[in-house]
Symmetry: C3
Subunit: 270 residues, 3 copies
Amino acid sequence: MINKIRNENPVIHCITNHVVSNFQANGLLAIGASPIMGEAQEEVEELVAISRALSLNIGTLNKDTFNSMMLAGKRANKEKIPVILDPVGAGATAFRKEAVQKILTEIDVSVLRCNAGELAAIGGVEWASKGVDAGEGNIDLDKLAKRVAKEYSLVVAVTGKTDIVADGSRVEKITGGDRMMSSVTGMGCLLSAVTAAFTAVSPEDPTAAAIEALKFYGAAGEQAAATSEGPGSFRDTFLDVLFGMEIDDDGFDFEKGEGVDVLWQRSNRY
Amino acid sequence: MINKIRNENPVIHCITNHVVSNFQANGLLAIGASPIMGEAQEEVEELVAISRALSLNIGTLNKDTFNSMMLAGKRANKEKIPVILDPVGAGATAFRKEAVQKILTEIDVSVLRCNAGELAAIGGVEWASKGVDAGEGNIDLDKLAKRVAKEYSLVVAVTGKTDIVADGSRVEKITGGDRMMSSVTGMGCLLSAVTAAFTAVSPEDPTAAAIEALKFYGAAGEQAAATSEGPGSFRDTFLDVLFGMEIDDDGFDFEKGEGVDVLWQRSNRY
Amino acid sequence: MINKIRNENPVIHCITNHVVSNFQANGLLAIGASPIMGEAQEEVEELVAISRALSLNIGTLNKDTFNSMMLAGKRANKEKIPVILDPVGAGATAFRKEAVQKILTEIDVSVLRCNAGELAAIGGVEWASKGVDAGEGNIDLDKLAKRVAKEYSLVVAVTGKTDIVADGSRVEKITGGDRMMSSVTGMGCLLSAVTAAFTAVSPEDPTAAAIEALKFYGAAGEQAAATSEGPGSFRDTFLDVLFGMEIDDDGFDFEKGEGVDVLWQRSNRY
């Protein structure tokens, strides 16, 4: 699918928070997608109409952006393009809980990309969440993911030490990634946008798209961590890796600097 | 002009989008300018009054920031400081088209810094635009740039494979830059702010300022790309290069790390 | 205190400007704190209730975020968690001056983290400020810092060539840091958030917390500058250094890459 993204440069409309908007746009460009970030109520429907997926993120939600998300989500459903929701800190405040509830009930969401604490909040399960971080708890995540997936007819992609992708019928576990990924802000948010890009080029199977996106992302995280000195260098190396990551029969592969050669062979973006 | 910017540290008032505001501020600091980013209607006029150029960017425009831009633009005209407009995705939605139209008719803009798709939208020409990207088309850009420049009495600076700077009487073409520049978000937006800084220290000749800004920027892009592994490392290297770029009789020149020595010789910014 | 931050991962609620929000969140993660950035009036009180410090920054203030700051600040006082204020460009506009005045009179602020120009504006002293930069002047900063600290019963932490920390009874000077720190946007803003994290784990002595934060930050700046080519690479290296900085009997110390090993020994954040 990454090759399809690079060939087709799908436009991904992101209504997102200002903490990660730059990183999300850069990450989407790095994998070959074409981000568009408008959020005014006056224009979001038109933006959705020229996009191939809609990525919603409630990280710094306010009344205005919430209204824009509802308008954009409904238009996305009409246009039959996939909607990916990142319910950042869903359990932290009543405002977020209600916003997520309203989005999930009034809009057909394709993929819910979240962490364990957020999933627990959405599923109505006790969880020692900590701010917008995942937190800790002793719940059966597999079951919960499957239940939430069934309830809202969507794919649940929960990330953590082990990632879980669940739809109404199956549950897949994905390992990989690196601890460093939790020391950079927006790593989860960008993953949601990347999942939107994978789903954009594979709308007929959002489960497969989410699984592929998580594997790709985890592999990129591992490779970036291997040559990083800390979160600052990791952040940039990660964008370099996203940009240059190749997929062959053995899985994902990346060689430093090779991405530059790869780029020279692509052409339609300049 | 870059030396003038470094000596005078002109304050550049940016009303811009939240995707690129950080990159824009860092880019302006790197060339020696002094960014100020306030956008509340209550204060933009006062901010304009202490600035030497106003840089407007509609990337994540909403009703509030649009009103602020109109207030700031009118005050800038009164103060006789140059206004630079970046009409991000001008053709993508009616909201953007109308906003750009209103800015161009009610405010004296000095330089319109855009891509081909945006220029086509402003000039009322057909163009296969794609989201906020430039898109493709078969129009005579030289003619269009000259016509738009004449119509609004401003300088048009269109960037792409070949850059074009046009005012009512002449058209200049500029080559340079690197493909990598299209894989980093905000490269065009920052160029607009950099153009604002060049125009700030050369308000009597905005055409020359735009040409110099584009040459400088393209040279920096080439030098940064030469030592980058992908868009993540390019982004930082580009800021390093902006910071250390020297101009001598042979044109722009940069040696890695030399900028640090240059800085030690400047002094008034700490 | 840095070790306490790394062990306790205090949640720091930031209501801040969109230019630096990403850098601030990354900086807080790098030192081991847990940032939360929500700013809607509907939720800020709840966010404060789960946080251990509140960091306010008026860099791109508007009416809405100002109201959120007032609500959050009052709740923070009720919850007895420290409030840190960064009055970005306090002297630049009437809107900022009044906002800062209102915050300082209606909310118990623990630490006012600012530059000389901002302190002058708050203290009602003449100062040749330049946009949001510190500017220049010939005032007795020690006296002014002490007077403002007394007037509002708070700790004043002014940064510049020499940093000053003052409360009603004493004044401490801190040297260190690097000129490069003034060429990256948000370095002061992040310092305010870092001070919030230090104060969060030492609320009984905000003076000591501010002193320690400034020493830590200055040492990190020096070490990052030593291996940077310019502001782009400095910015990332600085995050790496914040992440890996150790404190021993001889003061702060950092070895490139060692931070990664340190992380492997921590564990609760992934």
